[in-house]
């Protein structure tokens, strides 16, 4: 028997640990096996199938579509179902503004539609959450497990971004008034700053085409100053090097940088795609349709992932401009 130097036995400790281990092992096997369905109640989100989406197409004009690409064997997907999709805040948020569609990858049910969606949204891992407009335009995409708080933030971001996507659709048809009306009122009033390059460019061109260039420049300059104040430590005094990204992009919008210098400001493929979009929009405004189309093609080609803001914008214009 195991004894300490004081002569007392400590054998009860390994015995207790063994009993606890055995009991917990049995509980673990039961929970992962026969009891799994009991611990995984149906979510109140009310997930729909792809065929439901096709059927209800006419009735959800104001909603966004939320696709949850999931699989029977995917552990993070199961955790999403058990934790995140059971949270009341998440249920409320999804039901308020989204049409939720569960896409089971690898199942025989709706196999063709699932494969089409996977290809359309360039899916390469699961779980992936894709937000689209009812008309199918890609808005936002994230993959992996999200706790409830982060998932709600993701839905809020998707909603904010959807304003710009709707505006882009009208802008591509040269309906600039309609495009401005689609934007988030907080952005138009200046209460909320636009954080990404493509949405800033969309806002700039909408205002410019409505004859409000000064106002457009003020918005871009404000963003430039904000980013500059954060990046100024990274700028060497008297250096000939281009400013850190995305400052050259804003300089180009403000007319302070030419196309060649903008192209040399970065080597990243996704930034090249944004640059090509900016150059193409300028060419379009100068009535150089052929050059614009060619440059939009370049922008689409330089998007490694087909799901990006610049790829979507380029595709929209290519559709409009191609004879």
């Amino acid at each position: 028997m195991a004894r300490t130097n004081s002569g007392k036995s400590t054998l009860y400790i390994p015995i207790l640990i063994s009993i606890a281990m055995a009991l917990l092992l049995v509980a673990r096997i039961y929970i992962k096996g026969p009891f799994q369905t009991l611990l995984n109640p149906d979510s109140q989100i009310g997930w729909k199938s792809i065929s439901d989406l096709e059927r209800d197409k006419e009735n959800y004009h104001s909603s966004l579509v939320l696709f949850d690409f999931s699989a029977d064997w995917c552990q993070p997907c199961k955790r999403m179902d058990k934790v995140t999709f059971q949270a009341q805040d998440v249920v409320k948020k999804v039901r308020e503004s989204f049409y939720p569609v569960k896409v089971i990858v690898g199942s025989e049910h709706e196999k063709k539609s699932v494969t089409d969606l996977q290809t359309k949204y360039s899916l390469f891992s699961i779980p992936t959450f894709v937000v689209t407009l009812p008309s199918g335009e890609w808005v936002y995409q994230k993959r992996g497990f999200f706790p409830p708080k982060d998932f709600i933030k993701m839905l809020d971001n998707a909603k904010l971004k959807s304003y710009f996507v709707r505006a882009e659709l009208k802008m591509a048809k040269q309906d600039y008034k309609g495009a401005l009306a689609e934007l988030n009122p907080d952005v138009v009033s200046g209460k909320k700053q636009i954080e990404d390059e493509i949405p800033m460019m969309v806002y700039f061109h909408i205002l410019k085409n409505l004859g409000r260039l000064d106002e457009a420049k003020v918005a871009v300059k404000k963003r430039f100053d904000f980013v500059y104040s954060k990046k100024k430590n990274a700028i060497q005094p008297g250096s000939d090097k281009p400013l850190p990204w995305p400052l050259p992009f804003y300089q180009y919008l403000l007319g302070e940088l030419d196309e060649d210098k903008l192209m040399r400001a970065t080597s990243a493929w996704y930034q090249k795609s944004e640059i090509n979009c900016a150059i193409a929009l300028n060419a379009l405004e100068n009535n150089q349709k052929d050059l614009a189309l060619k440059t939009f093609h370049k922008a689409a080609e330089s998007s490694y992932y087909s799901n990006s803001d610049s790829f979507r914008l380029a595709e929209l214009y290519i559709k409009e401009l191609e004879p």
Partner: protein, 266 residues
């Protein structure tokens, strides 16, 4: 009246104090402590979105590798003796004294838990100080954050003490097997072709079987706020956590009990 000793003061003093004083272990521990502060400093200074950059830095405390390496530093004697992969020398020495296997395992486990928790809590306090100085107002330090550090330190210390108690080759095989079972799940989520031949589908099913039943033996970090928000939904998570904890301690004591040690090595 003498009480049975569950923890060895000599071992605790050695692992928590003598090791920190030795440069071979002390320097890595202080580097671990300072790493998040440094990350916070450089991320926030050169960022257009400092709040977001700061938030990303706080994710260091969810990183399994940090807990695993800290458990290694406080439990293993390898770095101190200059033989990181060999048999622990103090183990042989200690079995010449009247100390039980249970006492040895629990003392090492306790040192790993206390050492990792204290290092990470001090580090979090320093990082908070830097973040506040840089004007970051949104910081995640609350009771849930602290409890998560304790829970993660507990599970990773028990896992490491189990590997430490095994003969080094068996420990390595166990580590590779369980981390492999966990990783195949991620690999499967990348390749999910529906048109694969039947043979490959059977292979996939076998891989997924191992991933399902053994993938969660290799510990991953837990977030206490997730458990607190929905305990019922996290039943499986809690049971797996407790089951792993008891499994690691049981195997650590069991492996130590059946092992033979060469006293001639001392």
């Amino acid at each position: 009246m003498n009480k049975p000793s569950l923890l060895s003061p000599t071992l605790i003093r050695f692992n928590l104090w003598e090791k920190i004083r030795a440069w071979r272990v002390g320097i890595p521990i202080f580097l671990f402590m300072g790493l998040p502060c440094y990350m916070m400093l450089i991320s926030v200074i050169d960022s257009t979105e400092p709040e977001l950059a700061a938030k990303n830095v706080w994710h260091i405390y969810d990183n399994a590798s940090i807990y695993f390496l800290l458990a290694y530093l406080f439990i293993s004697d390898g770095l101190l003796t200059g033989r990181p992969t060999g048999e622990p020398e103090t183990l042989n020495l200690l079995f010449t004294r009247p100390i039980t296997r249970t006492c040895y395992v629990l003392s090492k486990f306790f040192c790993g838990f206390i050492g990792s928790s204290v290092v990470l809590l001090i580090s979090a306090a320093m990082t908070l100080g830097i973040a506040t100085t840089l004007g970051i107002t949104e910081n995640p330090i609350d009771s849930h954050f602290i409890l998560s550090i304790f829970l993660n330190s507990l599970i990773f210390s028990s896992f490491y003490v189990c590997l430490h108690a095994m003969p080094s080759m068996l420990g390595l095989i166990a580590y590779l097997f369980f981390s492999g079972c966990q990783t195949v799940g991620d690999i499967m989520s990348i390749g999910y072709s529906q048109n694969a031949p039947t043979f490959f589908k059977h292979v996939k099913d076998a891989i997924l079987f191992f991933n399902y039943w053994f993938g969660d033996v290799f510990p991953s970090t837990v977030d206490f706020s997730l458990i607190a928000s929905s305990f019922y939904a996290c039943t499986e998570l809690v049971v797996v956590y407790l089951s792993n904890l008891s499994l690691f301690l049981f195997f650590a004591i069991f492996m130590l009990s059946i092992r033979e040690f060469s006293y001639g090595a001392d």
